[in-house]
Symmetry: C2
Subunit: 330 residues, 2 copies
């Protein structure tokens, strides 16, 4: 009961603290008898190592911090889960921070985590360049990276290729392609998707690609439903089949439901391709571009651990392939 520290085990076993420490960490020299006796006593008394003290001595608690806009978002949740599990395999714990994409909250988390509490940081999709005073903390970025220096390490999906696949898929199925984006078009991932769409559509003979920008967040797109459908209905008169490439599954699923409500047949009149492949997409049977979240997480985690082990990392940009998941909306 009263056993708290290595000192108690030392006292109970008759050995010194250094010997107990060596046995418990399996380092240095000690006899088999000594080991057995100390281990036995430690177990009997439910000794558990004080990680704080160890961390102080070693200068590390073996904890990783992960900054994520919102754990409730299925795409982020998938990444965070995989990272956490990967780190735990390697004996690291993970502190999760919901930043709400709010720069102020981000700064607060970073300030707190910088105080020697985490060994490194995984940063997903930050609003802006991260404050410089965390410059000492090893960091890997997911999706987007600040323009701090040219050796920041980033992993992201091949957004450009995803858009190319989506655009070609729509044109192949005889649709006149439209892209529907949200207000976050300054995000590099959105930029790449727009570029991929535009270039592909042009290469298929359409000179003026139509891109509708909702100018809202993905989950507030319902506010501009009427405006969007006015445009869609107008286009439907000019083209037999329309194909919407939505910036993500949330937007795609909303448009899908709304189209049905408007009496537009999917996919006969209107095909829809989303992006992400979240559970909603699979429940709604939405065709979408799948992001390989497991791979993004794996690459990021291993890179961070490599930095911590001071191993060299040759690449700095890691681009993860995406794939088309064909379902019932195309």
């Amino acid at each position: 009961m009263a056993v708290k520290s290595i000192k108690d085990i030392a006292r109970l076993s008759g050995f010194s603290v250094s010997t107990v420490s060596r046995v418990l960490n399996n380092t240095g020299r000690f006899s088999d008898q000594t080991r057995d006796k100390i281990i036995k006593i430690a177990k009997e008394n439910h000794y558990s190592q004080n990680i704080i003290a160890k961390g102080m001595r070693k200068g590390s608690l073996a904890i990783i911090g992960i900054l994520v806009p919102d754990i409730t978002n299925a795409y982020y949740a998938a990444i965070v889960k995989k990272c956490e599990q990967y780190f735990f395999e390697k004996d690291y714990l993970t502190i999760v921070c919901n930043t709400e994409r709010n720069a102020e909250i981000e700064e607060k988390y970073i300030a707190k985590l910088s105080n020697h509490i985490v060994d490194g940081l995984v940063v997903i999709s930050t609003q802006r360049a991260i404050s410089k005073n965390r410059a000492d903390l090893p960091t890997v970025f997911i999706d987007r990276s600040p323009k701090l220096s040219n050796n920041t390490i980033t992993a992201s999906s091949d957004n450009y290729a995803g858009a190319v696949i989506a655009a070609n898929h729509l044109v192949d199925r005889g649709c006149y392609p439209i892209m529907l984006t949200n207000k976050n078009n300054e995000f590099s991932s959105n930029k790449s998707r727009i570029l991929g769409f535009t270039q592909t559509v042009k290469s298929r003979g359409i000179n003026k690609p139509i891109i509708i920008n909702s100018k809202t967040n993905s989950d507030e797109i319902y506010l501009v439903k009427d405006k969007i459908f006015k445009q869609i209905k107008k286009l439907l008169k000019e083209h037999q089949k329309l194909g919407i490439f939505a910036i993500n599954d949330n937007v795609a699923s909303y448009i899908y439901q709304a189209a049905i409500g408007e009496g537009i047949r999917v996919p006969e009149q209107l095909s829809i391709v989303g992006f992400d492949d979240t559970p909603v997409a699979s429940k709604l049977q939405l065709t979408t571009i799948r992001q390989n979240t497991s791979e993004i997480a794996r690459v990021s985690s291993t890179n961070l651990l490599k930095i911590l082990k001071r191993e060299d990392i040759l690449e700095h940009k890691f681009t993860i392939p995406v794939s088309l998941v064909k379902r019932k909306t195309t």
Copy 2:
């Protein structure tokens, strides 16, 4: 640059470490001049407190651990996010652990966290009673709690009331009610829902309530689709309108999609009520029983912090009200 510890600030300012510590923590006695000078130097040199050392001295790192089956599940994600945000408000960080409902993994996490790394634990829906050797760690439970002692603190939705609401809603709309559960019927939350359904249905004059147990996990229910629909179709011949109360939204949404595939009209022939109110339910326009995840998280977090502050907690069971969200499947 080379400034690492309070010692450096002491050296640079000409004061002792104790004075610096007192100023930085705003405790004890010091003059205004001293304060200004020390603060200035600390800021100039970007001093940041070493939380590990502080933690060692104070015996706490101000970190909470949260054990959750799967952060990817929307219901759990909502709770975890709220808890994390609440703890951060109170200056605690949160370590998230995905246990996959696996007892072995749970034990590993608990063993690791027990080593003085967290101040307390939030445990969501554990598979079994938690290993006894963590008995020293303050813990609150969500959804279900092990039968360790009768003062374990638990917060959960009013599952019984939810089932009563769902059953009445279905009967009110002229449906012959059926309940569809998964294999986890030993879970107390499922038990309560089944009880609520059974008793309500009986009180409405149906003596032999029909409960179909898929005997699979929620996301593997597709394996027994044929069996389930055979039964549903048979019942459809005996009753004009059927109403399914599904154990959760995942099951409900699958049944919804499958029913449409089978050519059954929803809600004309078959009404469906889910449980949870996850994003999928709202996307699919599923009628469901909403769990108040914010409230569950708030109650649990405040209770844990109360325990840490050694405040008395009068109740041990916290039951959070649920509500009917009527959408298009009823």
